[in-house]
């Protein structure tokens, strides 16, 4: 069985790659960092003895994604699943971010993902079983003064995955979506946060064990579920004050 992991070279992506490989799954790893991908490939092959293919691609560039899709059509035919543990955050991501900056963020965190899914599903003529796993962010629950386009893109991604779940209800396609709180990754490493960070290794194990669930939405770490619920229930005027307090 072969799984494609998009955003594999670090953080959750790297741990997912190890978790799947340790369960004997072959891998296709995608990231824009070719050097890191090559080293990750050696590491996984040496430790787990599975087949690993690496395909460098930059999801923040639509040209790159379209080229990638054109030149790797056959690769998508053989897939048993696709996972998107990809997140692009930048320091300049604010309401007044430049068009170039905001495009990059929206493409990486939302639009390019939809293109890859679209491509996979259109190629899947034999209607074979495929699992698609997306990763959102708790930051999508409310607008913010930092990571503005990131949270908007993650919000769009969540809505898109809900549509995907609903559209594929009667098909062989299993879709899962994880809303992630703070994780122990490079993105959050140096930040002092009010709640503990979840382990990406633990999450990778959960994702693997949930692969057969159809149309699932999950929160990780779990305590973000009630928090997200509260944010959605409370009137915006109150949420606004709380956000102001913690920002």
């Amino acid at each position: 069985m072969t799984y494609m992991i998009v955003g594999a070279s670090s953080g959750l992506g790297k741990d997912l790659a190890h978790e799947f490989a340790s369960n004997n799954k072959n891998l296709i790893l995608i990231s824009r960092d070719k050097t890191d991908l090559e080293y990750l490939k050696s590491d996984i092959i040496l430790k787990h003895k599975v087949d690993v293919k690496i395909l460098p691609a930059d999801l923040s560039s639509i040209d790159d994604v379209e080229n990638f899709l054109r030149s790797n059509e056959k690769t998508f035919n053989s897939l048993d699943g696709l996972l998107f543990p990809i997140a692009l955050m930048t320091e300049k991501d604010k309401v007044l971010a430049s068009s170039l900056e905001s495009k990059k963020i929206i493409y990486s965190n939302f639009y390019s993902i939809t293109l890859l899914i679209n491509n996979t599903l259109s190629i899947n003529k034999n209607k074979k079983n495929i699992t698609i796993v997306g990763f959102g962010s708790i930051s999508a629950s409310i607008g913010r003064h930092v990571n503005t386009f990131y949270s908007a893109a993650k919000n769009a991604l969540e809505t898109y995955f809900e549509s995907l779940i609903i559209t594929t209800l009667n098909e062989n396609i299993k879709v899962q979506f994880y809303t992630l709180g703070y994780l122990d990754t490079g993105l959050s490493f140096e930040k002092k946060l009010i709640l503990p960070k979840g382990s990406t290794k633990k999450l990778a194990k959960i994702v693997f064990s949930n692969l057969n669930i159809s149309g699932g939405k999950f929160y990780f770490p779990f305590w973000w579920k009630p928090i997200s619920l509260a944010i959605n229930i409370l009137p915006f005027s109150i949420v606004k004050l709380i956000v102001k307090r913690f920002n």
């Binding site: 790297k14 960092d33 080293y39 050696s42 590491d43 040496l46 490079g186």
Partner: protein
Amino acid sequence: MEKVKIQSLDKNYSANIFVKRPEKYRELKEISDRYEKMIPMGSCSSYVPASFCNDNLSILMTKFNKIIEFDKVNKTITVEAGIKISELLQFTLKNKLWIPQIPGYPSITLGGIVATNAHGKSSAFHGTIRQQIKEILIYHKTHGWLNLSKDENKKIFDLTIGGFGLTGTIVQVKLKLEDFIGYNFKTSLIKTNSLIDTINNFNEENKEVYQYSWNRSDNITNLGKGFIFKNEINSIENSSVDTRGLYHDTNKLESNFKFNLWNNFTIKFSQFLYYNFHLQKKNKIFFENFKKIIFPFSGKEMYFKMFGRNGLIESQIIVPAKKINQIIDEIEFNLKKELPEITLLSIKKIKGECNYLRFENDGFCITFDFVRNKKSLNFMENLDSICQNNQLIPSIIKDSRLRLNTIKICYNAYDQFKKDLNEFDNRRIYRSQLSDILEL
């Protein structure tokens, strides 16, 4: 970026620092290029402030932990420097190979081992990690990516091994591996009655046997009583170490109790128990698992916690064989005079050649752990004089109390190290609290 408060393991130094943890080669370069002063950090479990400096950046390398190349036939491996030593062993031992120069705690990183030229229990047989290193890849803010080996950039290669991270970030290391045919260790004990008796009972073995002592230090009459432990790989063909036991996720050395719980009574009590427990085992051969022998402090973190907020002082010195009797006499004399509270006293043999600031030489390596108090500090002052008068080598990575003057006298090549380092990096970009103490 927010600052983090950090302490050396001996609690003698603390600092507020910035920490970045790159995970990709691009990120490491971007971070190094952006900051003016920095120092690489492994698992930050050193006794001394070697991987941080107040208000400076520490580059935490623990996410650089991949195995890049493995050649079973030629017995070589290339790995990223942030790999924990336990993770590296998990892989190599499955292939009946290992590196024997392993410091006593599993979360210590390969980068930290190379940068301090560490040794393990087999120091008499295998020397220090320098013996295993074939190539190093570093990233330096001004020199960029550099391959180092005996054939390429030799001077920087030599400066980097035991160079305390001052030549830049070690990113990859190619190591020569040694055979480990066996499942666990066969241990035997020799009872000793004094420190001199201990020295006399170290054997010249021509097979691979690791010898080290544990000596009582709880009172003057018992001083030096103890055991020499002898570990031999239990060579069972077609068997390999159960590597699951080596899994080590977190560094448990960070926190301490509020108060010091080591005092005359607790030292006496624990040493009495340890001594009498092992007395039963004398003249017997027994088997001990790999982790227990190689990582003696794993699972015994309580030992460090008990030193409380004030921490401990560790001292390690190398004494040439021809001076050992005289030095033991001088040490005993000063112990009787100052009566410091010693929680650990141990001796092993070591081999090597001291160059630059590397802790290695042919001789006996004596290790003490003290409760940090006036009596211990007085004794240590005397020990420094003994080192200076006899050109013994004190370990820089173990004792943050060491004065520059002592280091200059005991390490002949101090000036050469300083000169070569400044030639390589005249802006002195990579610096730590330790390098400030050493005026490097």
